[in-house]
Structures are given as structure tokens and as C-alpha cells.
């Protein structure tokens, strides 16, 4: 396989049209179609079960439908046997119950304040004490009622029909218990529903609550941002010159954008694992970019265009080897149903293709252009 030097003639910047189109397409996909998110960022429940025979996915779906807002069932088959994977989003009721419970806790504080006010008046001998006392008692009764109403709302959301006591404090305690019960009961209900269709023996069960998923989401945004800033600082220190640093960082950013677009197209979800893979792409993308830039900038043999061509040959092999290794990871994942491997493997494979486009069609021309200008000035 002999590749001609694509940089031999003409303005190499003409190649940039292809990545430009890809980036526009990717951005369109990201913003119009959106990148799917896994339960890590959306909250929900992932259940993977080993099964002995064929399982009707529709039957599983039908059993789970009343329990969840959104059910996704798929089967996989690996050397360890057959299995099904169920991903579902819990209905909003439980989370609403938890929010109501939180509000009820706040209301109890109001009630305590009202009780404090009342008890401070009880020993009072001032002339207007009886009137104040009556007012305070009325206020207290109101607070009590508000709290009890809130507890009733909480119980309704939690699906409990327990008798609410007339004392606010006791009512709150009941609400706490009932919400807990309904939360742990949910897990059992899901397992029982699946158990009607197929025996559930060995399983993995992953449940991400809404607050944890929100935490993961905000935290990973920060992580990606920091990683990018740190990489940019390092690249700038390495090259001490604006054009190549910019080119390298642009390469990494467009790599991620194109990959996200491809994820949106292929329905690969954004999860903690795939975000880690995206971060790895910054490294992999800089890998070829740094190699290219150092070879063009810091070497002297041949013309800049020849050096770019040599670098490209090395770079393609680098991308291919990464594709081979990560592709195998993705392959094993598709076969065994290990989603962490699938998310990392497939994202890096996509990223390597994107990196190829971004590095050799944008970056190389940019650096070439800058180098040739400098050489002309120097000559």
C-alpha cells in the first residue's frame, strides 16, 4: 500500500473542508438529536440477568411497564450463556415523595419555633398575655395542620395509605419510614416482576438515584473542563508559540465534537465510562498532534511537506493500532454484554477515526502553513 504524499502540491488547507463539514454535521446532531445519556447521568436502573433459555423480551417489557416511566430491554449472548439487560427510568412519584419529605422536615422546624413561642408565653404574667397566648396557640395549630397536610401529600406520592397521627412530629416520623419502605420496596418489585417471566438468580443491579446522577453530571463537566484547560496550558508551554498550540487544541476539541456527533448517530450513551474515554481521546488526539507538530517544527531534514508526509505515515499506524486494541475491547463487550468496555472501546474507536480527519486534514495543514510562512520569512 503506497500512499502518495497528499501535501505535495497545492494549498493543504483545502482538505479542511471535510472536517469542517463533519464538525457542522456533528454539532447539528448533538444539538438537534442530542447525545443519549446512560443511567449514570439520568438516574435509573440497570438490571442484567443470566438466563437459561429464550426469554420473551415483550413479556418482560409488559411486566415492567406499570412500574416505570421508560423501559428498555435487550438480549445478549456470550460464551457464558444468554442474558437480558433491562434499563429503566423510575417514575417520578418516588422522587416527588422525597422532595415532599424534605419540605415536611422544613415545616417541622416552623412547628418547633411556634411551640417555642408558645411555651415562652405560658409563664408570662403580663396583662395582654392571655390574648397573646391564644394567638400563639392558633398559630401553632395552623403550623401543625400545614405539616400534617404535607405529610399526607408525601404518603400519597410514596403510595402509602398509613394512618397519619394528629401530632406533627409523629406524622413526620411516619412519613420518613414510609418513604424508606417504598424506596427499598421498589427494587424488590422490579426483581419480582422480571421473576415472573424468567428465573432471576445471578444478576448485576445498578441503580443511580437522581441526586447521585446530578452529582455525576456536574462533576464530569468540571472534570472535562479542567482536563482541557490543563492540556492547553501544557501544550502552550511545550510549543511556546500560538499557531501550533491552537492547532493542537483545536484538533482535540474537534475530535471530541465529531465523536459526540457519532455517538448521537449510533446511540452510544454518555456514561461515566464513555466520558473517561472522551478524556482519553484528548490524550490520544494530542498524541498524533504532538508527534506531527514536533516533526514538522523541530526537525530540519527535507521540506516541511515531506516531513508532514512522513509523520502522517507514522500517525496512521498509531491510529490503526489504537483502533485495533480498543476495537477488540468493544468487540468483547458486544459479545459479553459488559457495558463499561463497550462504552470505552466504541468511543475510542470512533474518536480515532475523528482524530485521523482532524489531525491530517486540519492540523497538519495549519502547522504546515505556519511553518512555511516562517521559513519564507527566515529565507
Amino acid at each position: 500500500m503506497h500512499l502518495p504524499n497528499p501535501y505535495a502540491k497545492g494549498n493543504p488547507m483545502r482538505y479542511a473542508v471535510i472536517p469542517a463539514i463533519l464538525i457542522v454535521l456533528a454539532l447539528g446532531l448533538i444539538f438537534l438529536k442530542g447525545v443519549p445519556t446512560g443511567i449514570d447521568f439520568r438516574g435509573g436502573l440497570l438490571l442484567k440477568i443470566q438466563t437459561t433459555g429464550d426469554v420473551s423480551l415483550d413479556a418482560v417489557r409488559a411486566e415492567l411497564a406499570p412500574l416505570a416511566q421508560d423501559v428498555n430491554v435487550r438480549s445478549f449472548e456470550g460464551p457464558g450463556g444468554k442474558g437480558i439487560e433491562i434499563e429503566l427510568t423510575a417514575g417520578p412519584a418516588l422522587e416527588e415523595a422525597q422532595n415532599k419529605l424534605r419540605e415536611a422536615r422544613e415545616l417541622e422546624k416552623d412547628l418547633i419555633t411556634a411551640e417555642g413561642h408558645l411555651s415562652s408565653l405560658e409563664g408570662s404574667t403580663e396583662p395582654d398575655a392571655p390574648q397573646k397566648l391564644a394567638e400563639a396557640q392558633k398559630a401553632l395549630a395552623e403550623k401543625q395542620q400545614i405539616l400534617i397536610d404535607k405529610v399526607k401529600e408525601t404518603l400519597a406520592k410514596a403510595g402509602s395509605n398509613a394512618q397519619v397521627p394528629s401530632d406533627g412530629h409523629a406524622a413526620l416520623k411516619l412519613a420518613e419510614d414510609e418513604v424508606d419502605k417504598s424506596r427499598s420496596g421498589y427494587r424488590d418489585k422490579i426483581l419480582a416482576a422480571v421473576g415472573k417471566v424468567t428465573p432471576v438468580k445471578d444478576y448485576t443491579f445498578k441503580e443511580i438515584g437522581s441526586s447521585l446522577s446530578k452529582f455525576f453530571f456536574s462533576e464530569t463537566q468540571k472534570i472535562v473542563l479542567y482536563a482541557f484547560i490543563l492540556a492547553a496550558i501544557f501544550v502552550f508551554i511545550l510549543f511556546r508559540s500560538r499557531a501550533p498550540s491552537f492547532a493542537v487544541m483545536f484538533g482535540a476539541a474537534s475530535d471530541i465534537v465529531i465523536t459526540l456527533g457519532a455517538m448521537s448517530l449510533l446511540g452510544i450513551p454518555l456514561t461515566l465510562a464513555s466520558v473517561a474515554a472522551l478524556l482519553m481521546l484528548i490524550g490520544l488526539s494530542l498524541d498524533t498532534d504532538v508527534m506531527l507538530t514536533m516533526r514538522i517544527l523541530k526537525r530540519t531534514e527535507g521540506t516541511a511537506r515531506e516531513r508532514a508526509y512522513e509523520a502522517m505515515k507514522t500517525g496512521i499506524l498509531m491510529n490503526c493500532s489504537a483502533i485495533a486494541a480498543f476495537g477488540m475491547l468493544a468487540l468483547v463487550a458486544a459479545w459479553s454484554g459488559i457495558s463499561t468496555y463497550w462504552e470505552i472501546g466504541s468511543v475510542v474507536v470512533l474518536g480515532c477515526f475523528a482524530d485521523f480527519v482532524a489531525t491530517w486534514m486540519v492540523n497538519a495543514p495549519l502547522v504546515l502553513d505556519a511553518t512555511e510562512k516562517k521559513e519564507r520569512r527566515g529565507a
Binding site: G123, A276, S321, Y341
Partner: protein
């Protein structure tokens, strides 16, 4: 391959081999049994449960420390001692229990809700019980204060109780001004207490009667005996018809016969001598107990006259003063005392409400399968990369150093991560992908060396120096790329998100191992193969 001895003589190669040997030893010999792989596996591979516990509100580092410690203690009490408890951010605590079944989630839930039994006893009468206390109204922003003074820091803690509790307290307190209010957490019921005069009794006049006073409770007084008098009190102890005996954990050594006899007829609660030694204080010329941890007496404030006149109040404040060498130390002690008392009054509950909205369970059988799949993934990745290298360079012998380098990197990495961290799915993914990344560097090095042979117009005598030069340049690229890879993974590593930090850890350590240990050795290999005495008519890469 006559030059193999020269390769082996190189320092870089020797260093790599030595590291590899150490790694292999760590992998197989850590537990003395060479047939097993001794790494810390994550729950994905051995089965188990991971439960992130969400706190209702953000907490500071100190409170987080208290929460983590409390959860750890309680979990250990349940015999789940292999568990790991660690904070995540300022609102989450991760509880991980290897090899556990999903049913354990329910016990963790109850462990978190668990609370001790609080009692405030005045003159033998129960004034307050745990259920009387409104836990949301113990301390808090307005309910705690510390004022620095000349004689130490003064502190105050406010709390509120239910109406019912207020009434009970006012009855118990009626006419008992200046009496101590003994605050207990988990006071043993139906029990005797056996202490040693020599070891546990403070030397002060009237201390024995002060002790007796603190043991009183209507219908359930604790009986105090001394180790020194055990022989003569034996009958009295038996006739007391109690079920629990609080004893020293040293009794077994100090008096084996007494221990044996007690063990036969009582449920033993062993406490340290320090816990069994009461702390006393002289108040108005009278000696009172302020702490006796062995029986759960954690605080003994004095009842103010204002509370002893029969009025029902739902609001109380406890005041005290903390000593210390410097005002700052006094303040810290005061804060500590408030925190302790707060935990007593709220029945040892966690300082903030918690909830379990998430859990992750892996059955052990599936964990084994995951391990097999990972091994398959690893082998396939290594094979496919090797095939690629052979196709590209048309030099099958190149495969040998590349495979050796790869394998060594993976072995060293697995051993390091498995020793200092945990091999979970994410870390395993990081280890497998090291193959792809590691080969990249080897390609950079090989290309540099082979490229000069393509242009090959250098004099023979310069050849050697030139090769070294090129490897040096290739390393410049390798090192820079390695630094970038490390830098981009650092934020992920520091995030503490258990699910994925393994990946970052494996990626970072893998890169370091590659750059420092194995790839320099690979450079030497390549140098020997192509730089010094390679075939006179080299095959040119296409």
C-alpha cells in the same frame, strides 16, 4: 541473535527486567501461595454491593469525617468488616461491601437509620427519653454558641423536646434544683457493673457514693461490684438475678476465675479500663459524676433552679465550660464538647439525614465471567496489534520485542494497580487499552529508527551515534505525549468517582511505567536490532 547479551547488559534493560520480576512476585507471592493472583479485585470481579449514601445537605470536611467514622463503626459491628466506607464530594458517602449479597442493602439502610437510646435521669427518675427529643431542633445555627472567657470557653447547646417529654421532665425535675442530670446513651438495662478499685476508681473523698448515685434508676438500678471483693460478693452477684455484666476487657487476665464464673451466668459487655473509669467533678463541695463511658453515662450537667419549679418547658439549654492551654484550644474543646453532647441527645444519630437512592450489586458468579471476558479482550487486543505491526513493517521479528514490552507493561501495571488500588472494570479497561497506547509509542520509536535507514546516506561510523540521536528524539515525543496523557487524566483521578477513577489510575500509572521502565528498554532492543548491526540491505518501510 548474537547481540542479545549486549541488550541484556544495558542498564535500562536490566532495570526493566528487575521491575518485572518484582511485579511478578507481588502478583503471585503476596499471600505466600504462588498459584493465586494476589490483587485487590473490585466488586465487579468478586461480586458484592456498592451503595452510595446521599446526605440531605452538604457538609464540611470535619462533619464528613464524623459521618464516615460512624458508618464504619456500625458496619463493623454488623460483622461486615471487609467493607470500605469513603466520602465522595461533600454530599455522598460510598459504602462498598465485597462478596455481599443484595440483601445487605436492607441492613445498610437500617444501619444508617439506627440510633442509640438516650435517657436523661434526675435523682433516679427518667426525665427524658430518646423519642422525646426533636432531632431537628438539637443545636443548629441558633442553638449552639461558644463564648471565650477568662476561665475557659463557655458553651451552650439548645434543644427542644415534644410536649409529652416536657411534661415528663418537669415532673422528674420538680424540686431537684442543683441535682445532676445524668445523660445516658445506651445505658445497659438489667445489669451489674464490675470495676476494679485499683484501676478504675478515682482517688477522691465520697467517690463511691457519687458512683452509686449515678447508677440509680427507678425499677432498673445498676448494681456496682468491685473486682477486689468478688470472692465475698459472689453470692450477692448471683442473687441479683441480672442478665448483663459490664466488665473490664482485662478481667480475663486479672482474675480468670471471676471471668469464668461471670461468663457462665451473664451476657458480658467488655469495656476498656479507660471507659470504666468515671470522671468526677466537684460541684458546690459535692462530688458528682460527669462521665462514665462504661455504662453509657456521657454527660452530667447540673439542673438549674429555674427548671425545678414545675413549669413545663419544651426548650432546654445545656451549658458548660471547656478548658485548654490557649484560647484557641479552649474554643476547639468547646466545639468538640458541644458536638459530643449533641450526638448523645440525638441518640447517636448521624448529623444529617441520609438516603440510599442508588445501589450496585454484582453476583459473584458473574464476576468470574467478567474476569474471563477481560482476559479474552486482553489477548485479542494484543494479537490484533501484533498482526498490524507485522503487516506494516514486514518484519516478523519486530513482534518479539513489541510483545515482550507490552506484556511486561501489563504485568507491572496490573501488579501496581492491584496492590495500591483495586482492579475493577474501569481499571481493567485501562489495563487492556494500555496495549493500544503502548504500541503507539513503540511505533514512534521504531519509525524514527527505520526512517533514518530509508534516507540511509550516513557514514557507517556515524550510524551508531545517529541511531542514538534518533531514539532520543523519538523519546522527546514519547515523553511529551505521556505528560499530556497524564495531565488529562488527573482531574478524573482526583474526582473520587469510584466507578471510574480506576481507569484514570491505570491510565496514568501505565503511561509512567511505559515511559520510565519498559519503553527505554524497547529503545535499546530496537537500537540493537536495526541501529548497530542490522542486515546490510534493510527492508524499507512502505
Amino acid at each position: 541473535m548474537a547481540n542479545i547479551s549486549r541488550v541484556l547488559a544495558d542498564r535500562k534493560v536490566q532495570f526493566a527486567i528487575a521491575t518485572l520480576l518484582i511485579a511478578v512476585c507481588l502478583l503471585f507471592l503476596r499471600d505466600g501461595n504462588p498459584t493465586t493472583l494476589d490483587v485487590n479485585y473490585g466488586i465487579e470481579f468478586i461480586g458484592g454491593v456498592r451503595i452510595p449514601v446521599t446526605l440531605e445537605q452538604k457538609v464540611d470536611a470535619a462533619t464528613m469525617g464524623t459521618i464516615v467514622d460512624t458508618i464504619k463503626q456500625r458496619i463493623n459491628k454488623y460483622g461486615l468488616s471487609q467493607s470500605v466506607v469513603k466520602p465522595l464530594g461533600d454530599r455522598e458517602v460510598i459504602v462498598e461491601i465485597p462478596r455481599a449479597k443484595p440483601e445487605v442493602i436492607a441492613s445498610i439502610e437500617s444501619i444508617l437509620k439506627e440510633q442509640g437510646h438516650f435517657e436523661a435521669i434526675i435523682d433516679g427518675k427518667v426525665g427524658l427519653r430518646g423519642e422525646d427529643v426533636l432531632t431537628q431542633a438539637v443545636g443548629g445555627a441558633q442553638g449552639e454558641q461558644v463564648i471565650a472567657g477568662d476561665k475557659g470557653a463557655q458553651w451552650e447547646l439548645d434543644f427542644a423536646v415534644t410536649r409529652e417529654g416536657g411534661e415528663r421532665f418537669s415532673q422528674a425535675a420538680l424540686g431537684k434544683g442543683e441535682y445532676p442530670v445524668y445523660m445516658f446513651l445506651d445505658r445497659p438495662a438489667n445489669a451489674i457493673v464490675l470495676i476494679s478499685r485499683a484501676k478504675n476508681l478515682p482517688s477522691a473523698v465520697g467517690v463511691e457514693s457519687a458512683l452509686e448515685d449515678s447508677l440509680r434508676k427507678e425499677g432498673d438500678a445498676l448494681l456496682l461490684f468491685y473486682e477486689e471483693d468478688f470472692a465475698q460478693d459472689k453470692a450477692a452477684i448471683k442473687n441479683a438475678s441480672r442478665t448483663i455484666a459490664v466488665i473490664s476487657d482485662k478481667l480475663k487476665e486479672r482474675d480468670p476465675t471471676a471471668y469464668k464464673e461471670l461468663n457462665a451466668s451473664f451476657v458480658l459487655r467488655e469495656r476498656t479500663d479507660e471507659e470504666l473509669t468515671p470522671k468526677v467533678q466537684s460541684v458546690g463541695g459535692e462530688l458528682i459524676l460527669i462521665q462514665w463511658r462504661g455504662i453509657g453515662l456521657l454527660s452530667g450537667p447540673t439542673l438549674s433552679q429555674g427548671l425545678a419549679n414545675g413549669y413545663v418547658s419544651q426548650f432546654y439549654s445545656v451549658t458548660g465550660s471547656a478548658s485548654g492551654a490557649t484560647p484557641d484550644e479552649q474554643k476547639q474543646n468547646a466545639i468538640r464538647e458541644i458536638k459530643e453532647l449533641k450526638s448523645v441527645i440525638s441518640g447517636g444519630r448521624l448529623p444529617v439525614a441520609t438516603s440510599i437512592g442508588s445501589a450496585y450489586t454484582v453476583a459473584a458468579a458473574l464476576g468470574d465471567q467478567f474476569l474471563v471476558y477481560s482476559a479474552i479482550g486482553f489477548v485479542l487486543a494484543a494479537i490484533s496489534v501484533s498482526i498490524l505491526i507485522v503487516i506494516r513493517y514486514r518484519q516478523p521479528k519486530l513482534v518479539i520485542p513489541i510483545i515482550i514490552t507490552n506484556l511486561s507493561e501489563v504485568v507491572i501495571l496490573t501488579s501496581v494497580v492491584g496492590t495500591i488500588g483495586t482492579i475493577d472494570l474501569a481499571a481493567m479497561a485501562g489495563i487492556i487499552t494500555l496495549i493500544g497506547q503502548g504500541v503507539n509509542d513503540q511505533i514512534v520509536i521504531t519509525d524514527e529508527v527505520l526512517r533514518r535507514r530509508a534516507t540511509g546516506e550516513v557514514q557507517q561510523q556515524n550510524k551508531e551515534r545517529e541511531t542514538k540521536d534518533r531514539i532520543g528524539r523519538a523519546f522527546q515525543i514519547v515523553v511529551n505525549v505521556a505528560l499530556v496523557s497524564i495531565i488529562t487524566m488527573v482531574p478524573l483521578l482526583l474526582s473520587g468517582i469510584v466507578e471510574i477513577t480506576g481507569f484514570a489510575l491505570a491510565a496514568i500509572i501505565g503511561v509512567i511505567i511505559g515511559v520510565v521502565i519498559t519503553r527505554p528498554a524497547f529503545g535499546v532492543f530496537i537500537e540493537e536490532m536495526f541501529g548497530r548491526s542490522g542486515p546490510s540491505n534493510p527492508q524499507q518501510p512502505q
